[in-house]
Amino acid sequence: MVEARLVQGNEACALGAIAAGATFYAGYPITPSTEIAEQMSALYPKKDGKFIQMEDEIASIGAIIGASCAGAKAFTATSGPGFSLMQELIGYAAMTEVPIVIVDVMRAGPSTGLPTLSSQGDIQQARWGTHGDHSIIALAPASVEETYLMTIDAFNFAEKYRTPVILLLDEIIGHLKERFLITPDMMPPIINRQKPQAGQEFVPYKNTQELIPALPDFGEGSRYHVTGLTHNEQGFYSSKPEIVESFINRINAKIEDNSEEIFRCNGYNVEDCEVLLIAYGSISRSAEEAMNNLRREGINVGLLRPQTIWPLNEALIGDACCGKKAVIIPEMNLGQYAREIERCAPDDVPVVSLPKVDGTMIFPSEIEELVREVLK
């Protein structure tokens, strides 16, 4: 029988990756993500997987893209400074539509910042860190169990949509140890990349209605060219405006058009509340506790907790904000997600940012105080 255990967030991420079928890890040590590398170095040699410690984060993401082309589900883990270094090749993976997962355990920045303290400062970097118009999937779990399950989701999304997926842990979730029990009924099905159909002509970047071309592994016989240059359906460089435009539109639309499926969230008293909190990652736990405390006082507060950070389901968020006295977004940055919520919310709803950037977690009391203030 499987029993509950005390497990760390980073460890749950490592276990989740294995459960997702990932067999390749390349990384460079960086606090507070290092436990993931340590776990993979211990687990993979015993589980038919490959672990390699590269010379830097650029090499790490390069290696996982190569591994993914060769057929492995591959991932890396890093934190702020390393995430910054990876940006160019995140764009490469988006451009070439190679499935990879990048775990970013967020720490306070910019630059070296506070290596051991938490932050949610990479929310916009995850969206727009690499240059050019691209779409991206980013997820933010709020517990150790959810870290395990959403690591599997991350690989599933990467494989299904042929895209880099960023799993945004924050230092608190990455380092938190708590009760962990995954039962079979909690497990998402495992999704693998769509392979070309035997007997049919293989066109590497075919623009079909589904928007997601089939992806053969190197070695399976469908030899093709992978390039970060803008390419035509055959995979070769093209600067023809109509080809460029349809390609860029496709790699954006394949994610944005599916935002309803990809955007996942939990709601608590969302519809009937006066004040709505929107919070993600570790801070959603402070928000939920604040909500519970306030409701005990008779203050009607609700919580929307996005598990998917990108793409946004703008309609869903807009509807959730509708008619509220205020929408409050507590987050460990200077309002990176609040800005997005403000964009989605109706004009007559005040969207209030509760930012914190001192390296300490937002306490429930801080949220409670602000709710009381906006209701005055």
């Binding site: 509950a4 005390l6 606090t31 380092h175 140890k177 736990r285 506790e289």
Partner: protein, 185 residues
């Protein structure tokens, strides 16, 4: 037990504070409760005052850190100086008997003193067991987890060769606390 216990273990880097907190949290989970365990990271965890914290509850634990501790246990003067300021009235402080001249304590705090370092060093001949003696004392006084769960947690948390020694350390601390409470009755 009350709905939520928030415990802080403080000491000097190298005293096994984090391991002690993990043993306690894992034991609570074995008992079917929820627990979270967090700690200070960085250079200060090797020397200097360091802390590890545990929340135990029958309910889901949302805010995972300790904001207002019910119980603080200190194995060093640095920890006493640093980690007792926010103790609320009605909370419990467990100090190692060797510690003297610490700061004044917040009002309404119950204080216990046990020679945990000495017990590990003299009775067990292994100063490295101090953390688990401390877990035994803490649990003997506060009854946070079942002793059965504590011992199973030790068996999970340590390499085979160290399990028996640490179970002994736990029992030593636990008995000392129980005897103290009996005598005080």
């Amino acid at each position: 037990m009350a709905e939520k216990y928030s415990i802080r273990l403080g000491g000097t880097g190298g005293q096994g504070i984090i391991k002690g907190a993990m043993v306690l949290a894992e034991a609570a989970i074995i008992d079917g409760k929820n627990a979270t365990q967090t700690q200070v990271y960085g250079p200060e965890s090797r020397g200097g005052a360091t802390k590890a914290e545990v929340n135990i509850s029958n309910e889901r634990i949302l805010f995972p850190l300790v904001s207002s501790p019910n119980i603080v246990l200190c194995l060093s003067i640095g920890a006493w100086q640093t980690f007792t300021k926010d103790m609320p009235p009605g909370s419990t402080l467990i100090l190692d008997s060797s510690l003297e001249n610490g700061p004044a304590l917040p009002e309404g705090v119950t204080v216990y003193r046990f020679p945990m370092i000495k017990m590990a060093y003299e009775d067990l001949g292994n100063i490295l067991s101090t953390n688990i003696v401390a877990v035994g004392v803490l649990n003997g006084l506060m009854k946070l987890v079942s002793s059965d769960a504590a011992e199973r947690s030790i068996a999970i948390g340590f390499k085979k060769t160290f399990v028996d020694g640490n179970i002994k350390a736990y029992e030593l601390g636990y008995q000392a606390a129980r005897e103290y409470l009996q005598a005080a009755k």
